[in-house]
């Protein structure tokens, strides 16, 4: 076999391996009831329950922030985030959480907020907050 053919096969193999590894490490969008069934981390799309308490007291713990989120299926859950309270959190329209359930609480490692701009309705600003160290 020609060397270029062998190399071509290797390249195709690496490409397929890349696709598989990407697909296998990709996660899913789910709900809190999905989260209760699995030990894996997943993404949850929902919105902040503005009627319930947002708790952040820097003097007690600067890295503890809790709030309540209603997912797209209407289920509500307490969410805990180990970080500071993101700016304009109350104004968010939509929240995308990543994390997993621990007991009855959802422990979020990242929060992604979508906030409506005050002026133009067609503009949405997206901000992301990460609790985790971006360790490489």
């Amino acid at each position: 076999m020609k060397k270029s053919a062998i190399f071509g096969l290797i390249v195709i193999a690496i490409a397929i391996a890349t696709i598989i590894s990407t697909y296998s490490s990709s996660s899913t969008y789910g709900s809190f009831s999905d989260a209760k069934k699995t030990a894996d981390e997943l993404h949850i799309v929902g919105h902040l329950d503005k009627g319930k308490e947002l708790y952040y007291d820097a003097s007690k713990d600067a890295n503890y922030f809790s709030f309540f989120v209603k997912d797209n299926k209407g289920e509500e859950c307490k969410v805990i985030y180990t970080g500071t309270k993101p700016q304009d959190f109350e104004k968010s329209e939509q929240i995308v959480l990543t994390g997993r359930m621990t007991g009855n609480e959802f422990h979020a490692s990242t929060i992604l907020l979508k906030c409506p701009s005050k002026y133009t309705q067609d503009k949405i600003e997206v901000t992301e907050f990460k609790a985790k160290t971006a360790s490489i």
Partner: protein, 822 residues
């Protein structure tokens, strides 16, 4: 019903719109003329060529006209225009008005088409026999870019988005039915505070020049296939391609330096989709350049070279689609929202992809593809392998970044990997390792045929040497604690530095023209080393060890709960934090920024002060965006200490004292303090309090209280107090007064320590006085929550970038010397 609106300045906008349409028409005419000039068989007939040139010049002048009009509108604060209103305000300093110019998407397209026009003019001047086909492609691309700015409706669909759109047409509000609505619009929304930064002035033009110049090698590639000048297009494409790769690379790194210096990512690269998209074309272009050089020297790899060069521009179009179509939605922090140009952007990609594919297929049989295999021990073979790996790295980035695209195309609902950063890091590091090692040993190989024994001896020697150095670095930096693949990248990079260092030192002795590639490779490897150590062994200095009260078992939850990176500090209360003693001293304001003074002190083992410095992380308090923090960094040669504010008290940013004191009475003010404690003291006595002690120095019988006149029987006594807290001294003098037989007293506050002091009684029989001490409860004291990070060896990243740019410059000058344009 037409309303005659008052106070609008419609002329500049109308002129601007005419220029936009003119630029579109001129680009169209230019592309058609150049097309016929290319296909015209009558060599003596220059009329099409002339027309093409004139049309292109008209296009360039129109673009300048659009720019001038837009600048005029922004500069004069004509807020009746949506663009001026949305991105600028009266308070914006003049130098940011320049950056307001490319704040919006329309401005970005304008910048892009401007650079493309500049490049087109250079090509008209320099490209000689290539002018006709190459300019056909460039003008064709100008049509698309001009169409992005049109903002006209055709059969119910809007094409492009005009920067001259009026505010009353862009935003619906009842106010716009009033003819005098302009008298209500006093100011624009202003620029996003994150963008009010000098990087915003230089980063977008550089990046857009890089993106725009990728069209040139693409145009040469298409022209070469189209005109069947298969071999000749390669040499000029290398020169322009090197330029494009250099500028694009610089632009991307500028963005990352900007993020590191003044944005709040906590790093220099976040693998955000928009960031990734900006390096797609860079990777394929750099790969393409290498195989173009292979082809030029050996005749191998023609198809790969052409393919990668053509795809680079398609990827430029794709990356602009990702950033601007709104498709990234919930996966990106800084993508634009859809301006209704989704399908227009898709068409841009599709048309250029179709052109590339058409020529690759139609001309495939005629391409000068060698049937012979490359020799295993030849430079060309391994350069080819390296280019393919650059392509694979790009392939992976595209695959993951485009997850929202796949979802939209196939109706799936895949979410990106949970540990996205880790996923990218590990896989991209694997590719980087292969590429780094290839940039090393390929330098020891020669084109066509190499002396194998000698090659193995040198390679092995350097490999062992590199392994030793790597082991040392990995051990001292702590890199071994991470995924092993990062140690391999480190090894590859060190090896690349050594091998290319050898090539460079050889080139100094003789063939200096070979220095370019060696220098660029050294720069690239140093960038990898810097990025790897800085991101991989980044340390959190502000580890919070004291504040974890009240939430038992929380830390045990691995994964989500292990990030305790924020620390709360009260004003003037020093806190020990990772080797430093940190004190929040107070804040100062230089609108719109609020600076928080954080004093860092470092002591050696004997308690001697080794160094002391002040960092001023700032926060912009913006009515629309809330608090926008910006870090401050202490730079050392070998590491950086990075500090930024992550939370502030709810009333932060409001002028001090405005909240309660004036509006409420005395009693309300006392509520801000803990239960008052009276102390009976004589002169010289000491009163302890939580953060220090107070000494009654003396009693002052001649005290004056503002402008209260004292008459015969009145008495006024001041208690001179010295307050010592955390090794700092403060003075206060509360006053006791009997005036007209009524007792008054005037308290004094020491805000820095959170004290309020009263001289409430005089006890002459005991020769004492009563001092009442009000202490602020801790949580009423001013505080900040901050995060401090340590980035080791980050300067390697920046230095590597500069070295790589120098390498590119050397290569460009070498290739230009070789270039004899006909």
């Amino acid at each position: 019903m037409d309303i005659a609106f008052q106070g609008e300045h419609l002329l500049p906008g109308n002129i601007g719109k005419v220029f936009v349409i003119l630029s579109f028409g001129a680009a169209l005419l230019s592309a058609i003329s150049y097309y016929f000039a290319t296909t015209n068989t009558n060599k003596l007939d220059n009329s099409w060529l002339k027309m093409g040139r004139i049309a292109f010049w008209a296009n360039s002048i129109s673009i300048l006209g659009v720019g001038v009009m837009l600048f005029y509108i922004i500069y004069n604060h004509y807020f009746e225009y949506h663009y001026a209103w949305a991105y600028t305000s009266r308070s914006l300093p003049v130098y940011y008005i320049v950056s307001g110019f490319w704040n919006g998407q329309e401005g970005g397209f304008l910048l892009w088409t401007f650079w493309q026009a500049v490049l087109g003019n250079i090509l008209i001047w320099r490209a000689k026999s290539w002018e006709k086909p190459v300019m056909t492609i460039i003008s064709f691309s100008q049509i698309f870019l001009a169409s992005m700015l049109l903002g006209i409706e055709v059969f119910g669909a809007r094409i492009g988005s005009s920067p001259f759109l009026l505010l009353r047409k862009a935003v619906e509000a009842p106010i716009f039915s009033r003819p005098d609505y302009m008298s209500f619009i006093k100011d624009g929304q202003g620029m996003n505070p994150l963008l009010q930064n000098y990087w915003m002035v230089i980063h977008p033009p550089t990046l857009f020049l890089g993106l725009a110049s990728v069209i040139v090698p693409f145009a040469y590639g298409i022209a070469g296939l189209w005109q069947r000048r298969y071999k000749e297009w390669v040499a000029p494409a290398i020169s322009y391609g090197l330029f494009a790769a250099m500028i694009l690379g610089t632009g991307v790194i500028m963005g990352s330096l900007w993020a590191y210096e003044s944005l709040n990512f906590g790093g220099f690269w976040a693998w955000d989709p928009v960031e990734n998209a900006s390096i797609f074309p860079w990777l394929t272009l750099v790969g393409g350049l290498h195989v173009l050089i292979v082809y030029k020297n050996t005749g191998h790899s023609y198809f790969t070279a052409t393919f990668l060069v053509l795809m680079s521009f398609v990827l430029v179009a794709y990356s602009s689609f990702l950033a601007r179509s709104g498709i990234l939605g919930e996966t990106s922090v800084h993508s634009f929202t859809d301006l209704g140009m989704f399908w227009q952007l898709v068409a841009f990609i599709a048309v250029f992809l179709a052109i590339a594919i058409y020529f690759l297929i139609a001309r495939f049989k005629e391409m000068p593809i060698t049937k012979k295999d490359e020799d295993t021990y030849s430079r060309e073979f391994w350069m080819f392998v390296g280019s393919i790996f650059l392509g694979l790295s790009c392939f992976h980035l595209i695959l993951v970044t485009s997850i929202p695209v796949w979802n939209a195309m196939f109706g799936t609902k895949i979410a990106p990997p949970i540990d996205l950063v880790g996923h990218y890091n590990v896989i991209q590091a694997s590719f980087a390792m292969v590429i780094a090692i290839l940039t090393g040993f390929t330098q020891f190989l020669k084109y066509k045929k190499t002396d194998v024994t000698r090659f193995f001896i040198t390679t092995l020697l350097y490999l062992i040497f590199a392994a030793l150095i790597t082991a040392l670095i990995i051990y001292t930096s702590g890199l071994y604690k991470l995924h092993f693949v990062f140690s391999l990248v480190m090894f590859g990079s060190i090896y690349s530095v050594l091998a290319n260092g050898k090539v460079f030192s050889d080139s100094l002795k003789g063939k200096f023209k070979l220095a370019g590639s060696a220098v660029a490779h050294i720069g690239f490897a140093l960038m990898l080393i810097g990025a790897l150590i800085a991101a991989g062994t980044r340390g959190v200095v502000s580890k919070n060890e004291t504040g974890n009260l009240g939430i038992p078992n929380f830390d045990k939850n691995a994964g989500a709960g292990d990030a305790k990176e924020n620390i709360m500090i009260y004003r003037n209360e020093p806190v020990k934090m990772g080797g430093y003693t940190v004190t929040y001293l107070g804040d100062s304001t230089a609108e719109p920024n609020h600076y928080y003074k954080v004093n860092y002190k470092r002591y050696d083992a004997n308690g001697k002060l080794v160094e002391e410095f002040l960092l001023k992380p700032n926060v912009q308090i913006n009515p629309q965006m809330g608090l926008v923090p910006s870090p401050d960094t202490k730079h050392y040669l070998l590491h950086d200490l990075y500090t930024h504010i992550t939370a502030l008290p709810p009333n932060a940013g409001k002028p001090a004292g405005s909240q309660d004191a004036a509006a409420h009475g005395e009693e309300d003010d006392d509520k801000n303090y803990e239960e008052p404690i009276p102390h009976e003291v004589a002169v010289g006595d000491t009163i302890p309090f939580r953060d220090g002690y107070i000494v009654l120095k003396s009693l002052n019988k001649e005290v004056q209280v503002q402008n209260i006149p004292l008459t015969g029987s009145d008495v006024a006594i001041g208690a001179k107090l010295e307050i010592v807290s955390h090794n700092k001294k403060y003075a206060a003098e509360p006053v006791f007064m009997i005036k007209n037989k009524s007792v008054l007293d005037f308290y004094r506050k020491v805000d820095d320590v959170g004290l309020k002091l009263r001289l409430s009684k005089i006890l002459p029989d005991k020769n004492k006085v009563e001092i009442v001490v009000y202490q602020q409860p801790r949580n009423k004291k001013p505080w900040i929550v901050m995060r401090a990070l340590d980035f080791p060896y980050i300067n390697f990243l920046w230095a590597g970038t500069i070295i790589m740019i120098i390498g590119f410059l050397l290569s460009i000058s070498r290739r230009n010397k070789e270039l004899k344009t006909v």
